[in-house]
Every structure is written in structure tokens, then in C-alpha cells.
């Protein structure tokens, strides 16, 4: 099943998952606020790569960004269009001119692309000189292993991580996830191939308040779950 089919088939459930306040606590209280610390203030035009139902673009719009989203799932794009401009497109063939954007945001999408390197090359192409890419991904360490009790264990290979298929079923909202991850080398090599220089990397840790409200999150004070990077097109 392609990435597009995987998400298109559960777009309605994903819409409720993403739009029910408090439901996606790790996004609201941990991942996204940390990610925003790397995202530049609004300028000319922002591309949201893998926009899904549009929650990232909606927030950037509130901060004054002029956002266009792309996603390969038509059902996702239809939802995103309720919040900002969005088009159906493959990340490896973006329907935009070279240098059309000064910011590309890819929030939890690059590692899931069928061809991440090609997606990053396209991101580099549509950026103007001086423009920036901000990406959030599953941390390569988390992708390589899992917790067994309090210990984090890598049994396979960090270099060739297996995708993790899991299901969230809470409060009548059931969504499947297929989390892939990329070793750091592939991620940075992809930026290199796209002509981008990595200027900042973050491995966010949850706040004490978040840990208090979310049992299990204390483990993320020891082992990173997300990785954020900002790259610039020189």
C-alpha cells in the first residue's frame, strides 16, 4: 500500500484524531511547540510538505504565514483546504517553480516518504536562495528500537530500521500509524543532495508539566522521540 492510500483510507478518523482538542497530546504539548522554536517568522510564502488535514498550516497561518500545503492524499487535501490553500501532489514532483518559497515545513513527513531523498531534493529546488527547510521526524534512535520496561533496546539495525505499525484507539477514534525512520546520515545526506546546509538540530525533551500529565512520557527525558532540524539554501 502506498503512503497516499494508507492515509487516504483513514482520512476521516485522522481528521478527528488531529482536530479533537487534547487528543494528540504529544503533538500539542511536546512535539509541535518545540518545533515552532525552529520555524522562522512569516515572510513571503510557506510550503507545508505532507500537510495532512492542515493543523500545522493552520497554526502557521495564525502566525501570519502565507501557506500552501501539499499532500499525496486527496481526502487529506480536501480537509486542509478548509484551513488554507492546498493541492494534491507527490512530494517528489512538486507543482511549483524553482525558488517559489522562502520556507518549506515538513512536520513528521520526510521519514514516511517513499523516496525521502527525492522529496528533500524537491524541497531544495522550490526554495529560494537563503530560504529554509524546517523538518520534524521520528528520532533515528527511537526508530531503531523500542522500550522494554525502562530499558531502551535496539535488537536490529540502526541503519535499516523496521517500520512500526501500531494503532491508537481512544475515545472512539481509531487510527493506524506506520512509522518509518531514517538514520541521521540519510537525513543529512538528503539535505546535502538537495544543496542545503543544516544549521540547527534539536532533540526536544518534554516539559516537567507534560511529563506530569502523561504517564510514560518521563522516559522521553532519557531517550529522544523526535528530531528537529533547520537547513538553509545558501
Amino acid at each position: 500500500m502506498s503512503l497516499s492510500e494508507f492515509w487516504d483510507g483513514q482520512a476521516e478518523a485522522w481528521g478527528r484524531f488531529a482536530r479533537t482538542p487534547g487528543h494528540d497530546a504529544y503533538h500539542e504539548g511536546f512535539n509541535f511547540p518545540a518545533f515552532l522554536e525552529l520555524v522562522p517568522a512569516a515572510a513571503r510564502r510557506t510550503l507545508d510538505l505532507g500537510c495532512g488535514e492542515g493543523r500545522v498550516g493552520a497554526e502557521l497561518t495564525r502566525h501570519g504565514h502565507s501557506v500552501v500545503g501539499v499532500d499525496s492524499s486527496p481526502a487529506m487535501v480536501a480537509m486542509a483546504q478548509e484551513r488554507h490553500e492546498a493541492v494534491v501532489a507527490d512530494a517528489t514532483a512538486l507543482p511549483f517553480e524553482d525558488g517559489a518559497f522562502d520556507l518549506v515545513v515538513a512536520y513528521m513527513s520526510v521519514m514516511n516518504l517513499d523516496d525521502p531523498e527525492a522529496g528533500l531534493r524537491e524541497a531544495g529546488r522550490v526554495l529560494e536562495p537563503g530560504g529554509r527547510l524546517c523538518a520534524a521526524v521520528v528520532h533515528p534512535i527511537d526508530g531503531a528500537g523500542s522500550f522494554e520496561g525502562d530499558e531502551f533496546v535496539i535488537r536490529g539495525s540502526y541503519f535499516e530500521p523496521e517500520a512500526k505499525l501500531w494503532e491508537s484507539d481512544r475515545d472512539g477514534i481509531r487510527v493506524s500509524f506506520l512509522d518509518r525512520s531514517l538514520p541521521l546520515e540519510r537525513l543529512v545526506h538528503g539535505c546535502e543532495g538537495a544543496g542545503l546546509l543544516v544549521e540547527a538540530v534539536r532533540e526536544p525533551r518534554p516539559s516537567i508539566d507534560f511529563v506530569a500529565a502523561n504517564p510514560g512520557a518521563e522516559r522521553r527525558l532519557r531517550v529522544p522521540l523526535f528530531l528537529h532540524l533547520r537547513a538553509v539554501k545558501p
Binding site: F152, G156, E185
Partner: protein, 247 residues
């Protein structure tokens, strides 16, 4: 002065052929190193094998170390290079002196890593490069439970936070104590960032097949990286970028 205390041990350790991982990993590190310019600086040269290997590749090398015994050994072994006793966080060179700075397994041994990175950037010309090898932050965060090729790698403590390491190894009649610091990748990234250095290339080298053939348990290091290689470029200092968060 930890490296001065270990100087004799280190000279024997580093100069015994194929005794440590340098022999296996350094060729792929040199693939990241730019072609020689006018002047190359090596930080924390020890007994000098990296400086000599750079010299063999055409680099005009100035090398610094804080251990007098190691520096003397390095200088005696190489009549071409210039060897200078200095603290990496306080280099006796003017701004923009070098085209390239190399720090091979030294940043994590230096007391103030961010200060050394800042000094490296200062003595580098604009658009110059810094090439770095450090112990991989993942390898520092945990351990394989055994020497088996498929042994699980376990993080029982924390990946985060600056932590001390102090470990003594005995191998084939040689003994060496390593003392330094472990960092998360973000710690290095923040040091580079505040020094005006951006990451141009990054490698997580795998143990080589021929080494694994000779010593099958080394296949562990084809599953997980033991070192991290980086090539950084000195970029023009911008005013801090306004972001949507609190930074």
C-alpha cells in the same frame, strides 16, 4: 592533566599497527576531508598520527595539543608539520588563519567543547571547513549486552546531558585510560550553530566487511555507528533568526 598522564600509554597504543579503530575508520574519515588549501590546523593531535596522515595527503599542517610529552613525540616523528603547545579553547593564532580545521576524536576530550568549537571557527577563513570525528552520541548512551554479532544494544541510563566517561582498556599487553565527556547530538549542534558553523556533510561509518570477516563479532558495528563524522562550513554570521518560539 589527563592526556599528559596517559601520554606514554597513548604513544604505544596509537603507534601499534591495527591496535585500535583508527586503522579501520580513518580512511573513510579522510574521504570527507577537503583537498589541501594553504594551511590546515589539527586540534588535539596527540602523538601525531592524524597530522602525519594529513601531511601525506598534501596538507600543510599545524597541530596543537595540551600535552608536552605527546607534542614532543609528534614533532620528533614529523619534520614537516608545525607542532604547538596550546589549549584548544584559547588558540595562539590570528583570526582567519586556516582553510581547514580537523578534530579527530578530540572534541569530547576537551574540557570546554563549545569554547573549542568557537576557537576553531575564529581561526578559520570564511567558507572554510571543520572536519570532526567524535564518538557517536548513540554509542555513548548505552552498550551492547555482549560481544555477539546480534547482541541487543541497551540504553539503561540517559542519552541526554553532558556525562563523564573514564574507562581503562587493556588489550594485547597495552593499557590505556580514556577520560572525557559524552554529549547528545544537539549539544554539538548548538556549539556549531553559535560558532557560525553549518553541517555540510555527516556520516555514520559502518565497520568494514573485511574486519568483520576476520572478527565476526565486529558485525555489531555494522548495526550501530560507533563514530560520527561531520564536515562543517563557516557561514556568514547572521543576526539571530526570529522564530515562532522562544529562542
Amino acid at each position: 592533566m589527563t592526556w599528559e598522564d596517559e601520554a606514554r600509554n597513548w604513544i604505544a597504543w596509537a603507534r601499534t599497527p591495527r591496535h585500535d579503530a583508527y586503522w579501520e575508520y580513518s580512511p573513510s574519515f579522510f574521504e570527507l576531508v577537503p583537498t589541501p588549501g594553504r594551511a590546515t590546523l589539527e586540534l588535539g593531535c596527540g602523538e601525531g598520527r592524524v597530522a602525519r596522515d594529513l601531511g601525506d595527503r598534501g596538507h600543510r599542517v599545524t597541530a596543537v595539543d595540551s600535552s608536552p610529552t605527546l607534542l614532543e613525540a609528534a614533532s620528533l616523528a614529523d619534520s614537516d608539520g608545525e607542532y604547538v603547545l596550546a589549549d584548544a579553547a584559547d588558540l595562539p593564532f590570528s583570526d582567519e588563519t586556516f582553510d581547514l580545521v580537523v578534530a579527530y576524536n578530540s572534541l569530547m576530550d576537551i574540557e570546554g567543547m563549545p569554547g573549542a568549537v568557537r576557537e576553531a571557527a575564529r581561526v578559520l577563513r570564511p567558507e572554510g571547513h571543520v572536519c570532526v570525528c567524535v564518538t557517536h552520541p548513540l554509542a555513548d548512551a548505552g552498550a551492547f549486552v555482549s560481544r555477539e554479532a546480534d547482541a541487543p544494544f541497551v540504553i539503561a541510563g540517559s542519552y541526554f546531558g553532558r556525562r563523564r566517561f573514564d574507562e581503562t582498556f587493556e588489550r594485547r599487553g597495552l593499557r590505556m585510560t580514556f577520560r572525557g565527556w559524552c554529549y547528545a547530538f544537539e549539544d554539538y549542534s548548538r556549539a556549531f550553530e553559535s560558532a557560525g558553523l553549518a553541517i555540510e556533510a555527516l556520516r555514520e561509518p559502518r565497520q568494514r566487511d573485511e574486519v568483520v570477516t576476520a572478527d565476526p563479532p565486529e558485525a555489531r558495528w555494522q548495526r550501530l555507528p560507533i563514530f560520527l563524522f561531520l564536515r562543517l562550513r563557516k557561514v556568514a554570521h547572521h543576526t539571530p533568526l526570529p522564530t515562532l518560539g522562544g529562542e
